[in-house]
Symmetry: C2
Subunit: 362 residues, 2 copies
Amino acid sequence: MSTVRVELGDRAYDILIAAGALCEPARFAACANPRGNALIVSNTVVAPLYADALEAALRPHFARVLRCVLPDGEAHKDWDTLNQVFDTLLGAHCDRRTTLVALGGGVIGDMTGFAAACYMRGVPFVQVPTTLLAQVDSSVGGKTAINHPLGKNMIGAFYQPRLVVADVDALRTLPAREIAAGLAEVIKHGAIADADFFAWLEQHIDALRALDSGALAEAVRRCCEIKAAVVAQDETESGLRAMLNFGHTFGHAIEAGMGYGAWLHGEAVGAGMVVAADVSVRLGLLDAAQAQRLAELVRRAGLPLRLPELPAARYFELMQVDKKNEAGEIRYVLLDGVGHALLRSAPAEVVGAALRAHGATG
Amino acid sequence: MSTVRVELGDRAYDILIAAGALCEPARFAACANPRGNALIVSNTVVAPLYADALEAALRPHFARVLRCVLPDGEAHKDWDTLNQVFDTLLGAHCDRRTTLVALGGGVIGDMTGFAAACYMRGVPFVQVPTTLLAQVDSSVGGKTAINHPLGKNMIGAFYQPRLVVADVDALRTLPAREIAAGLAEVIKHGAIADADFFAWLEQHIDALRALDSGALAEAVRRCCEIKAAVVAQDETESGLRAMLNFGHTFGHAIEAGMGYGAWLHGEAVGAGMVVAADVSVRLGLLDAAQAQRLAELVRRAGLPLRLPELPAARYFELMQVDKKNEAGEIRYVLLDGVGHALLRSAPAEVVGAALRAHGATG
């Protein structure tokens, strides 16, 4: 087992990475509260696979272990679905000693974390991520949120879990499409922060797609370390942390433009990284050969390279609501080399040309 | 003008208390952000009275000053109404530099603060309380929330304002019933923490009801000082801060039992304090004469002393969801003297007898 410590002062916590971890009571000792309840929040796809095993692992540590099963998918990352968690908690008279345990992917993690941030103004929260994307990304850093019809993740909180237990065995039940989507975030970590890791990925991308346990555990560990280091320096995204949004400005626009759930988040990020690298090349920040390395790795991960055929003007409209923007100006995370990112604005004609070169119309 | 500093480290802020303050641009200098927007959140009763004046006072400090007017009353302290704030913010492409300004009573303050806590995971927030209750209580301490059908203030956040501007002139447009409700919280501060202030209130209760400016400013200042001292020691209500809930365990049950909005919060707290003092007497913690002083002051403030005629069992049921409870046990804030409170459980038969003595049935 490997452990990554996220250093956040009195909100510091551990990420435990191991095959089979979610079935092992000992892994959850750090969040034990024998006088309180635990509520497992999961969805209709993941709960039948893992909720019984997780419940058994949690039972020694809590007075009662309850369960709330939500509908699956980004399309349900909204207030009405979140409210089912509050209905369950209040219906069972759960007090402030209740721990919410997220069992699922990024959507379940984001929603459960936000529910924990808000319930009685804050109760403890544990993440058990079951997708590659959630293991490498959403469970590190305390970003929680739900979507609003006018923008993704617009309503949320920075709220840290007490513990993250990442069981790479849980990835065996993921569809190949979800593995590919998770690899987009894995590639992102190399692209923005670690050229050696990027080169490692070029060597191991096939092993990762084939679900090699050792390769997966190593990729999860390395991504968590990179992200934990960034988050420890910038918990509330005032500067450095924005680099983690590489590919996300375009990616969020894809997701919103196509309707949440049509493209997986990772798929949108994959295509978004390729466009962002192209913008970087057009601005003279990045060699074309380096952008080509990125595009090739995205392709080998099984991800789409082309944007959906929306007008470029629609992309700009959707990017206007990005949280990184300042005073109405769109800001982009760009690369000035594989392994190093920067945040800046860019001329609309340059971005428009890059959008059109990758499939946008108009 | 008097200033009360709420000492909370990097979240410290000032409360400015003065007649006419909400019309004066200089009072808002501390929250200026010329590159960002301000959104005034108010309701249909308060906005026509003060929103134009506040907008003029804010205009020098922000790029744009927007407005969102919600329906009035506790009955609208829910998600659907809160979402109108998000709709306004996203519709106007407001970014993270937006400051939310609450103009109204406790409901507007709680909702606006929660909206600020959640919008893009947190934007700055300023309180301009226009009711006595909000000036003495809700604008100090950073508690924000909305109600859930199964419990009051169950969904919220601890989120501190950057500035509070309390204009005692704004109290002149309040109905007498609202003044009385605010006095309940004023009395509470004396009862739990300051016997001298309690004695001062016994002398000045008539001047306060007559809206004497000097008396009001003094009462607001003293309450803010008391509450600020408590909050500075216990920001997230793990111990001392629970004392501020004196009268609220019973009060919340009254409000929920009668349907939110039927009783004003302060009215429910007034009757709740009388019951809590009676429980204190029955447990041998408090002299009957001291409980009588409290009941007399509550009566002179113009507040009801009798509970609504709900069965005692219904009160217990409603108190089960109180946030102070631990592991299913109801905990009460009681007095062991005028000016000193403590938190403890109490036998159901003692509490039941006190409930029945003050109007509960069954």
